[in-house]
Amino acid sequence: MCLRMLATRVFRLVGNRALSTSICLRGGHGVAKVEDYTLPAYFDRRESPLPDIKFVQQLSPDQKSLKEKEKGSWAALSKEEKIALYRISFKESFAEMDKGTGEWKSVVAGIFFFIGFTGLVVLWQRNYVYGDVPHTFDPEYKQKEVQRMLDMRINPVEGFSAKWDYENNAWKK
């Protein structure tokens, strides 16, 4: 019971808000609110050079008088007036709409930054997370290992022991 009352109160709140924003009344009188996205939109596109609407919809008095002057000879217009007329109808020229954003620089910078940060994480990990390497990495142990491999004649034809000069107990030059 309480839940049902709560639901109806919520509905009434929502209903009031909806009624206040749209003039659509019950009974079919009035006009529904027109949403922005249903109206023709302006966009600069290479493949569609003349958009559905002019860029500037509300003209200032100066612009209105310029539009009147446009009805006469175009040769009488100054260069600034011609540019102003262009800017009333269009937001960006082809050159402006086609130019790059330079976003790639931010992307590459971001890549380097995060690679660097990862490097720091790896360094920290090496110091604080991983323990010591096994004793088999000690230089003395490694020396004994190499000696043992030479004694066993590992790869004596073309590989490891082939590079050792057994007469002079040194690596071949």
Binding site: A75, I83, L85, F90
Partner: protein, 137 residues
Amino acid sequence: MFSHVLLKVSSDRLWSFSSTASVAARSYSHGKQETDEEFDARWVTYFNKPDIDAWELRKGMNTLIGYDLVPEPKILEAALRACRRLNDLASAIRILEAVKDKSGPHKEIYPYVLQELRPTLSELGIPTPEELGIDKA
């Protein structure tokens, strides 16, 4: 080229009894293929409509730019004159920008088009985007 001539000759022989086959007919596609001249003439007629309205101008231009070609100067002249009838200088400049953009890597097309349109541009007082400085971002 050579094979096309062969096909045309064979079609002439096949349909020689029907004199209605026009020169533009080719025997390997369905229906008639429009020649370049017919295409140009059609578009010039479109833009030359005396009472063309703004929507028709926009629609025509956007469609024309959608094709895989740069419009002939005579079509563009008709379009520019339509802009004049509609008192729309901005669209006239936009058309010139679109032609340059449509030429893509073929940088010699735009100067040629401007050269051909020079009398019309002077007569109507239409500036090129370069003259206005809006060809640079």
